[in-house]
């Protein structure tokens, strides 16, 4: 069951829609699991779909599995079980087989200081995909022209092509990375926390750049972040991940305003206040300001340190939970304020609420549970 997509204005029709069938997925995870050597289960039966021409957001914290999804989507790793397809066909094995597929995927990763080879000039960095995929404009004068054009499009007009990445700030480097991602005219754009390492005032600029690029080139976009607010502004459909599983999917707006899964709600509640009068988190001993009443079931996630007491070094995003024992239970049960016995004994399946939303919870939150 792939994440469904409400119709979006401006996106090209993805072929005649047969009644009841979802738009074809460019990248589809079908019950994919990934277990690393050493036993760590990074993905547990994950089903996701990036609709052609649409956008999908993956939201989760460290250990949620979202980065593993990106690695699989880029062909950097193979699933241990399940089926991973690109435009309907399975991901080929081997570098050579993957190359035509990779030509269609542009990616922007988190660390702008790591993702660009410091020994390559920015011209070489940006032109690299053209060279690798043997596209025109990869070398010589032609490359200079093409690269200059791309750099201007990402807000670096007139940049010195012979300069090195170290000359640029974090935001500048991400622009270079975006230019590189788009130069080969891919059909898919994958962004993994592209703004998390950047200053606040630069983040919006980079995100807007990505949104513009997506709109102008009609790209399918997979956007991965830990920021629930950001994802809500950037994509149509959101999948929330925890402990290697998808716990909820749905339209961005609904996920933000009216989540079904307690973890989504907890994630939302963990975001700090907008105004001092609304402070909840550090409320004890806060001094003379009024604090909003923090009810017992405010949804704050009980600390991971409880898991640590039990002997696991638990990540906030759920990885590191005891292996086999947790498999047949809800992955969030140990930290969920609404958990009951059933949650610990049975693994909740993904329940489709309607064509748009689904969640994996036996006791979902009712509508309007979150203002």
């Amino acid at each position: 069951m792939t994440a469904h997509l409400p119709s979006q204005a401006g996106a090209p029709a993805a072929g005649p829609e047969r009644a009841g069938s979802p738009p074809p997925a460019v990248i589809a995870f079908d019950r994919v699991s990934k277990r690393y050597r050493g036993g760590r289960l990074a993905l547990d039966d994950v089903t996701l779909g990036l609709p052609d021409g649409g956008s999908l957001g993956l939201v989760g914290e460290s250990g949620s599995g979202k980065t593993t999804c990106v690695r699989l989507a880029l062909g950097l790793d193979r699933p241990t079980s399940g089926r991973l397809t690109f435009n309907g066909a399975a991901y080929p094995a081997g570098r050579g087989g993957l190359r035509p597929l990779r030509r269609q995927i542009g990616f922007v990763l988190q660390d702008p200081y790591d993702s660009l080879d410091p020994r390559m000039t920015i011209r070489d960095v940006v032109a690299e995909p053209l060279r690798i995929h043997r596209l025109p404009g990869g070398r010589g004068r032609a490359a200079d022209r093409v690269v200059a054009g791309q750099l201007a499009a990402v807000g670096l007009p007139g940049a010195d092509l012979r300069s090195y990445p170290s000359r640029y700030s974090g935001g500048g480097r991400q622009r270079i990375a975006i230019a590189r991602a788009l130069i080969g005219s891919p059909s898919v754009l994958i962004c993994d926390e592209p703004t998390s390492s950047l200053d606040v005032s630069v983040q919006s600029q980079i995100v807007n750049l990505l949104l513009d690029a997506r709109r102008e080139r009609h790209l399918s976009m997979l956007f991965v972040t830990h920021d629930l607010d950001l994802i809500g502004r950037v994509v149509d459909t959101v999948a929330v991940m925890y402990g290697g599983r998808v716990v909820e999917t749905g339209p961005a707006e609904l996920i933000r305003r009216s989540p079904r899964h307690p973890y989504t709600r907890a994630l939302h509640d963990a975001v700090p206040a907008d105004h001092p009068r609304g402070r909840r988190l550090a409320s004890r001993g806060a001094g003379p300001l009024e604090t909003a009443g923090a009810g017992g079931d405010a949804g704050a996630v009980p600390p991971a340190s409880q898991d640590e007491a039990a002997g696991y070094a638990a990540e906030p995003g759920g990885a590191g939970q005891a292996g086999a024992a947790a498999h047949e239970s809800c992955i969030f049960a140990s930290r969920c304020p609404r958990a009951q016995d059933r949650c610990r004994d049975e693994r909740p399946p993904m329940i489709e609420e309607d064509a748009l939303r689904s969640y994996a919870c036996f006791f979902p939150l009712p509508d309007g549970a979150h203002g």
Binding site: D199, D212, H226, R233, D269, P272, H275, Q306, P316
Partner: protein
């Protein structure tokens, strides 16, 4: 500037602080006060000078940095002390929490011992006593099973646990001032929420001044009594936190608030609000107000004269002079759409 309400000496008083790294002038004439038991959020982005200011106040900058100005902690003048004198008293005066807990803990020494060191060296405790005190300190920061955790190494702990260890180390001798340099920036949002909650708990129990550096306005809203905004090495706005949120005077502060508000509640698919341009790089100083290239209110005087901190408007009930901004055209009224810097991407 003293903050009313505290009977004791201010936890931190900085005046005329300048920090230079060779030719680069990182902090210009900074003046800041953290009242006893007060939380002051120091807000800024990369290159704003916030870390330099905090490190200079904590006397943790390398010798190659040129620091001038006055720094007093808990009423005690420390800027004039030499390294040796300060070293002897610092643990009881000032605790520091760094941003990257993984890098800030010695990887080959168990964390319990690193916490215990503070007790052993400064409280004159013997080995066993210090170890017990360390375990107690870890329990204070809500680490379950602190005795077992004390034997672990930094790489065996999660990010949140490591940060708790740092907090335990900083608060070990209950110093009157804690300087925290973006302690939750690298943490996941739910871990950050835990740490913020912990800080709230600790403040209810232990009265200490806290200088908290961040770029996240949400964290400021949660924690701070006072907010100070830095840009290009200068403090450009300072005031009680509610006032700064309700009526930001400096366009940069307004921009930061707008950015967050837009992110949180803007419509799906619409471009994000952005402050145009980018902060000046290190060493860039074209003269006049440093924010001018990005400011919608900029006029000629802004290009020529670097504004200093001046009081902003006098409200009934608010002592004039407590809300200050470094701007030739500060906004006097609560923020409205007309005051917003250009939203064009």
């Amino acid at each position: 500037m003293r903050i009313a309400g505290a009977g004791n000496a201010p936890a931190l008083e900085i005046s005329g602080l300048n920090v230079r790294y060779g030719p680069v002038h990182a902090v210009f004439d900074a003046c800041l006060t953290v009242g006893a038991g007060q939380v002051v959020a120091l807000i800024g982005e990369t290159g704003s000078g916030k870390s330099s200011l905090a490190l200079a106040a904590a006397k943790l900058l390398p010798n190659s940095a040129a620091v001038t100005g006055q720094v007093s902690i808990a009423g005690r003048e420390v800027s004039g002390l030499d390294a040796g004198e300060f070293r002897r008293i610092r643990a009881g005066l000032l605790g520091c929490i760094a941003q990257d807990a993984m890098a800030s803990l010695n990887p080959v020494v168990p964390v319990g011992r690193q916490v215990g060191e503070v007790f052993a060296v400064h409280a004159g405790m013997g080995r066993r006593q210090a170890a017990e005190a360390a375990v107690a300190a870890l329990a204070q920061v809500e680490i379950h099973n602190p005795a077992a955790v004390a034997r672990l190494y930094a790489h065996q702990l999660s990010g949140g646990m490591r940060q708790r260890v740092m907090i335990a180390m900083a608060m070990a001798l209950s110093p009157p001032l804690i300087v925290a340099d973006e302690p939750t920036t690298a943490l996941d949002v739910s871990t950050q929420a835990e740490i913020l909650r912990l800080i709230g708990e600790l403040r209810a129990r232990v009265r200490c001044g806290l200088l908290w550096i961040t770029h996240d306005m949400g964290v400021v809203a949660e924690l701070a009594d006072w907010a100070a905004v830095m840009y290009a090495g200068r403090i450009v706005e300072v005031g009680p936190v509610e006032r700064v949120f309700d009526a930001p005077a400096h366009p940069y502060t307004l921009g930061l608030l707008q950015t967050r508000r837009d992110l949180r509640s803007g419509p799906v698919g619409a471009p994000l609000f952005q402050i145009p341009g980018s902060p000046p790089g290190p060493g860039e100083d074209p003269g006049g107000c440093p924010f001018r290239p990005r400011c919608p209110r900029a006029t000629e005087v802004c290009a020529e004269v670097d504004p200093g901190l001046e009081p902003v408007g006098a409200d009934g009930g608010l002592a004039s002079g407590e809300h200050r901004a470094a701007c030739h055209h500060p906004a006097a009224a609560p923020a409205g759409p007309a005051d917003a810097p250009a939203a064009a991407p």
